[in-house]
């Protein structure tokens, strides 16, 4: 009988091409996702060395970071962004990489389109020059972000040099209460475990609460693994996973489907397999979460009070003081009722169809507060088309929200969708770093439900009050 192994170990073992002495392993990559911002220098590196993209059949490209979210066909007014997009088109053509370009109905945020095309499948190794590649781990894949040098390595060899990370089980017991979402689970994990708690680890999320989540809710959790310091976060595949993949354009079909499912069923962690660390929390105890500071670990229950610098260990005081000054919020005080200027519903964390449905369901019959600019940015053009088919766009627009085309938009604020200095936003995205959503802008991270509730009142709002009322 072989030694019991974790989900991570099974995938790792299957993809190690070779490993010499104390050198890192050569790890085979099944799918390489490419976008316009972290790839130009890698393509140039290939060109300079006379190399090709070795396996274009395992590579797919899209444009998401620097593109506008204005209607398709309008010219791109940012000349530098336009040049980067043109360069992407040229690079993909020259190297034979399939590109979902600006006009494509398949275009979208790279971590939204992989799953929706059925390219993301259990047991795969998936990389992208983007830290939120961890999203794809929701399918029981080993997926992680890489730098541009590594993008070039994968393009040239379909492999990467990697040291085997440690594993951390994050067990979420119990059941979520109404108004509490998977976004609140991951914000609570990061608040508990810290932004560096996962450094050197791959997370595997387990437990009853995780099992009962839909695929899109699982993606929200895995997406933010990197905010907890882990390059990858995974969830073992199950019937929910298979159901989601079935019938997607690149999903296996016929006899291949049966063989694939049989293999996928062998992936979950064996009984008796050991993780290097364990973090445990109970979903029953969770409430909606919100961040108050300038990294995703500075989070708290929405009805809580912001910690005062005097209440935290000496080593964290300087950074907390700096964060509270930047955010202009006071330690020891609550955030509930604080006026906000912008609500952003979007990003690879929370922009999928079920996020939009939940948000539309809550805003229906309400109006966005006069003092709030509410931007809704679908994660992909397919999500946008589906939402419009269901009439969600009309619900948002009737409420006074701005309905956009797909892209990363205000999550990274490269494309002109951004906060003005001093503005407060509630965002469903993943990072509240200083200036992340525009220089001087201030971000509170929260779930789509909290975002909508706050858009209606114009203030930081506990969605549970609205649901009870």
């Amino acid at each position: 009988m072989s030694k019991p192994r974790t989900l991570f170990e099974k995938i790792w073992d299957k993809h190690v091409v070779m490993q010499e002495g104390n050198n890192p392993s050569v790890l085979y990559i099944d799918l390489h996702l490419v976008h316009e911002v972290t790839s130009p220098q890698a393509f140039q590196g290939l060109r300079d060395k006379g190399l090709t993209v070795r396996r274009p059949d395992k590579t797919i490209a899209t444009m998401d970071h620097s593109i506008p979210t204005t209607p398709i066909g309008q010219p791109i007014t940012d000349k530098i962004a336009a040049a980067q997009i043109r360069q992407m088109e040229r690079n993909c053509q020259e190297f034979g990489v399939r590109l979902f370009d600006m006009d494509s109905e398949n275009r979208g945020i790279v971590h939204v389109i992989g799953p929706e095309h059925g390219l993301t499948q259990p047991g795969m190794t998936i990389v992208c020059g983007d830290s939120h590649t961890s999203t794809h781990g929701a399918f029981g894949a080993l997926a992680f972000g890489i730098g541009t040098s590594e993008v070039e390595h994968v393009m040239a060899t379909q492999t990467l040099l990697q040291r085997k990370p440690k594993t951390m089980e994050i067990r979420v017991n119990g059941k979520l209460k109404p108004g509490v979402t998977s976004k609140d689970i991951i914000l609570a994990i990061i608040a508990k475990n810290g932004v560096a708690g996962g450094t050197g680890y791959v997370f595997e999320y387990t437990g009853e609460a995780i099992r009962s989540l839909s695929m899109e809710e699982r993606m929200t959790i895995c997406n933010m693994s990197i905010e907890g310091g882990a390059r990858a976060g995974m969830i073992a595949p199950d019937e929910t996973t298979f159901e989601y993949i079935k019938g997607k354009p690149h999903a296996p079909k016929g006899a291949e489907w049966d063989a694939a499912v049989e293999y996928w069923k062998s992936l979950p962690t064996d009984e008796g397999a050991e993780y290097d660390a364990l973090v445990e929390l109970n979903a029953d105890d969770l409430t909606p979460m919100i961040t108050y500071g300038t990294h995703p670990g500075m989070g708290m229950p929405i009805a809580g009070t912001v910690p005062a610098p005097a209440d935290v260990p000496v080593g964290e005081r300087f950074t907390l003081e700096k964060a509270l000054t930047y955010m202009d919020v006071e330690g020891g005080k609550p955030l509930l009722g604080k006026e906000i200027d912008v609500v952003f519903l979007g990003s690879c964390t929370n922009s999928r169809i079920t996020d939009l449905r939940a948000a539309a369901d809550l805003i229906k019959g309400h109006k966005v507060s006069d003092s709030v600019r509410f931007m809704v940015v679908p994660g992909s053009q397919k999500v946008k088309i589906q939402a419009e088919k269901e009439g969600l766009d009309k619900i948002f627009m009737e409420a006074g929200a701005d309905w956009r085309t797909a892209g990363c938009s205000m999550c990274i604020a490269m494309n002109g969708d951004q906060l003005a200095p001093g503005e407060y936003a509630i965002s469903t995205s993943n990072r509240n770093f200083e200036g992340r959503q525009g220089k001087g802008g201030r971000t509170f991270l929260a779930s789509p439900l909290t975002a909508v509730a706050s858009a209606i009142t114009g203030k930081v709002t506990d969605v549970r009050d609205m649901m009870e009322g």
Binding site: S131, G147, T157, R431
Partner: protein
Amino acid sequence: MEEFKQLNAKVVAIETTDIDTDQIIPAIFLKTTTKVGLGKNLFSHWRYNEDGSPKEDFIINTPEAEGAEILLAGDNFGCGSSREHAPWALMDYGFKAIVSTSFADIFRNNSLKNGLLPVIVDEETHAQLMSLAMEDPNLHLSIDLESQTLNLPDGRKVEFPIDAFSKTCMLEGIDQLGYLQKQLDKIEAFEADYGNRVDTLTPA
């Protein structure tokens, strides 16, 4: 990539912990298609006012910081986005080594592939270095990669960890891609037994 053997250089200290790559180089500067010229926008939001004038109280803008090649920073340096523009910006500015108690995984990997040395020290050494840097704006440290030591002004030598493979690459200025290319026959043999799971080129 340039060789990194020894470095004796001036230190500039930023006490903040969890300095993310959005601070190191804000996303607005990632529209470039080259690696050069990012140094002028290193720490841009912290370094410049709205009108583009330098913020005089930010350490990098002080005359004492001029010529510094070692950055001493708080714990978990380089967290957040995977952008390799962060080490490119640090190096383009002139930094050759970063000293902290820990680094985010992706940033550390990216740095080692560009010849920027991440030096990990224990908390006590870090605290000592921070207070030395606050007292002496002209603090110099020397680093010897071969022996993996950081030499403090009081003569104390502190060892720092680095894996042997990355160390060799740094010492000899070797691009890690070369190592992978040498294994192409093994990669091909691996693929032969592997089957093709997903084909992105098939229209679907």
